[in-house]
């Protein structure tokens, strides 16, 4: 089994290019389809909430302005898709189909963006998202909702890379195990797999034996390293460790539905998710 449908949430911003490149690089491993989704509210519903009634002209002007903004964003997205297709040898298609090369389709959907993205992700194999420093709320809500559908999320980081060397953060918990089973398709394509056992100083000792046994059922081999870190510095240390060792992808599980960002060992710092030093695969 491999990935066939990779969803990517786009919004016409500068971040789209990097995210699309990441999605296409991932899709190449499986010759998968990349479904780009631009979710935005109904232009007629995005009206400012003010105390005074708006005149028909003013409303018309606002709605017209919204339509223009969404249309410009959609045009920008099509342009970015065309660029990525040229750079990566992918093909733009009008409806989701798989061909002998990676295909990219584009569609717009109207609704509350995080909900639309979450529902679309539930019928995809992977969702690719670009971290957003400007509007972290919307990004984090979309991330929460997608993870709540139990779909893995690949956070794009610049520059996009091939997924040859994969590091897995392991803390001997069920959430970390979920991350690993979600990463299986990537692990099957990887050249090097390293399990990083994250041991808090003074905590109980554990090793990666359960993971090694699980991966053996897939015919996969891995090596094991131990990293002693404090809970509060965990993600920074792990991210730094993985980029120093030239990993192409970091796999971490342990995100729970509601306050997602705080559960993997007590502290995924927001900065880590907003600006990951390398692509990160998350699963709940």
């Amino acid at each position: 089994m491999s990935l066939a449908k990779i969803l990517i949430a786009v919004d016409g911003s500068e971040r789209d290019a990097c995210a699309l490149m990441t999605a296409v690089r991932a899709a190449k491993l499986f010759n998968a389809h990349v479904a780009a989704l631009f979710a935005h509210p109904d232009p007629a519903e995005v009206l400012p909430l003010i105390g005074v009634p708006l005149s028909a002209e003013a409303m018309g002007a606002i709605v017209g302005g919204n339509i223009k903004i969404f249309r410009a964003a959609a045009d920008k997205i099509r342009e970015t898709i065309a660029q990525v297709c040229r750079a990566e040898g992918a093909r733009a298609v009008s409806t989701p189909v798989r061909k002998d090369a990676v295909t990219i389709s584009f569609r717009e959907a109207i609704g509350h963006p995080p909900h639309v993205i979450g529902a679309a992700a539930s019928l995809s194999d992977l969702a690719v998202m670009a971290p957003c420093a400007e509007s972290p709320k919307a990004f984090e809500t979309a991330l929460d909702l997608t993870l709540a559908q139990r779909r893995p999320v690949l956070l794009a980081a610049s520059p996009p890379r091939a997924f040859r060397k994969i590091m897995i953060g392991w803390n001997n918990t069920a959430p970390a195990a979920h991350g690993i089973s979600a990463a299986i398709p990537f692990l099957q394509k990887a050249e090097i797999i390293e399990i990083v056992c994250l041991q808090p100083p003074g905590g109980p000792d554990f090793n990666a034996d359960p993971v090694t046994a699980y991966l053996k059922a897939y015919g996969l081999a891995c090596s094991e390293v131990h990293l002693r870190v404090l809970g509060s510095a965990l993600h920074r240390s792990l991210g730094k460790f993985a980029s120093e060792h030239r990993a192409d992808l970091l796999v971490i599980g342990g995100f729970s539905h509601s306050r997602v960002r705080e559960t993997f060992f007590g502290g995924v710092t927001n900065e880590f998710l907003r600006e990951p030093p390398l692509p990160v695969l998350l699963a709940h």
């Binding site: 089994m1 066939a4 989701p96 019928l123 559908q149 979920h178 046994a213 897939y218």
Partner: protein, 288 residues
């Protein structure tokens, strides 16, 4: 994302054989490894909790009786395992491995089923449970619900009798909900190997967030062809309709989202999932 390691908890009951046969049949279709695990509580827990002093002789006799019961159960589990493995031409190995014919291992764990599964289910791709209809100990049913809702691992619930073809023609209960989508994506490795896949739409009211069209498109990207049937104006409950349809058309696997509503709602209103758990006439694949 795929199914390579199948866990089968055994308790030494007659139903072990059904679970093992179904697991081996599925493992052969998927090329998966079968991890058979006999679970038995610590015999020391058989001691009564009481303030009354108990003579050492009586204590010893209770422990001995519990020990004998455990030995008997373990022997029954081992026998079921070796017979099922021999009949399915499975290779018995000591560490998990991939390969053809199917590889399998048998081990024994001490502890309560729920606790052991809580630890062991996280790193496996599917847990196969025997039928929990009728007079079963509640622990089996509760373990199944735990694995499904707490661990978030997919579960295969066997029917009363073993199905040697489980997964060749699959019926998917589809209501456009998040749980149905979860079950669909989780069962994909089985659907990819199936000969026939059919959706049974139970709430064809259109306005759903995940229309059937999207689900079929997702499957076709994976190279899986599917057809659909609408259950309009159902006369029975959703669960009954699904089981009826599956039985009438001889499907050998039903795929459903488990506990689409909260567990509490399901309990209060006697939910679909609970009905399915008690009335499985075909093997049911559940995900939450």
């Amino acid at each position: 994302m795929s199914i390579a390691k199948i866990l089968v908890p055994l308790t030494g009951s007659q139903k072990d054989r059904v679970a093992l046969d179904t697991a081996f049949a599925l493992a052969r279709r998927l090329g998966a490894f079968v991890d058979a695990m006999f679970v038995h509580p610590d015999v020391r827990e058989a001691l009564p909790l009481t303030d009354m002093p108990i003579s050492p002789e009586i204590l010893q006799s209770i422990i001995d009786a519990a020990e004998t019961a455990k030995k008997k159960a373990a022997q029954a589990a081992r026998e079921s395992f070796s017979m099922a493995a021999a009949q399915s031409d499975a290779r018995i190995v000591s560490v998990p491995e991939k390969g053809d014919p199917v590889a399998t291992t048998y081990r024994e764990e001490t502890g309560h089923l729920r606790e052991v599964l809580d630890r062991e289910a996280a790193l496996c791709d599917l847990v196969v449970f025997p039928s929990v209809a009728g007079t079963d100990p509640a622990s089996m049913r509760q373990s199944l619900i735990d694995v499904l809702t707490h661990q978030g691992r997919p579960v295969l619930l066997c029917a009363e009798r073993a199905s040697r073809t489980a997964g060749s023609s699959v019926l998917i209960g589809w209501d456009g909900g998040a749980a149905a989508a979860q079950a669909l994506t989780a069962s994909l490795p089985i659907l990819e190997k199936a000969d026939a896949v059919q959706f049974a739409c139970v709430r064809p009211d259109g306005g759903s967030e995940r229309p059937l069209h999207d689900a079929k498109e997702y499957l076709s990207l994976h190279g899986v062809k599917s057809s659909e049937t609408l259950i309009e104006a159902p006369k029975l409950s959703v669960a009954e309709e699904l089981l009826e349809t599956a039985a009438a058309s001889e499907y050998d696997l039903l795929v459903c989202g488990g506990y689409g509503h909260s567990r509490m709602l399901e309990t209060v209103f006697g939910g679909t999932t609970d009905y399915l758990l008690s009335h499985a006439t075909v093997p049911i694949f559940l995900a939450h």
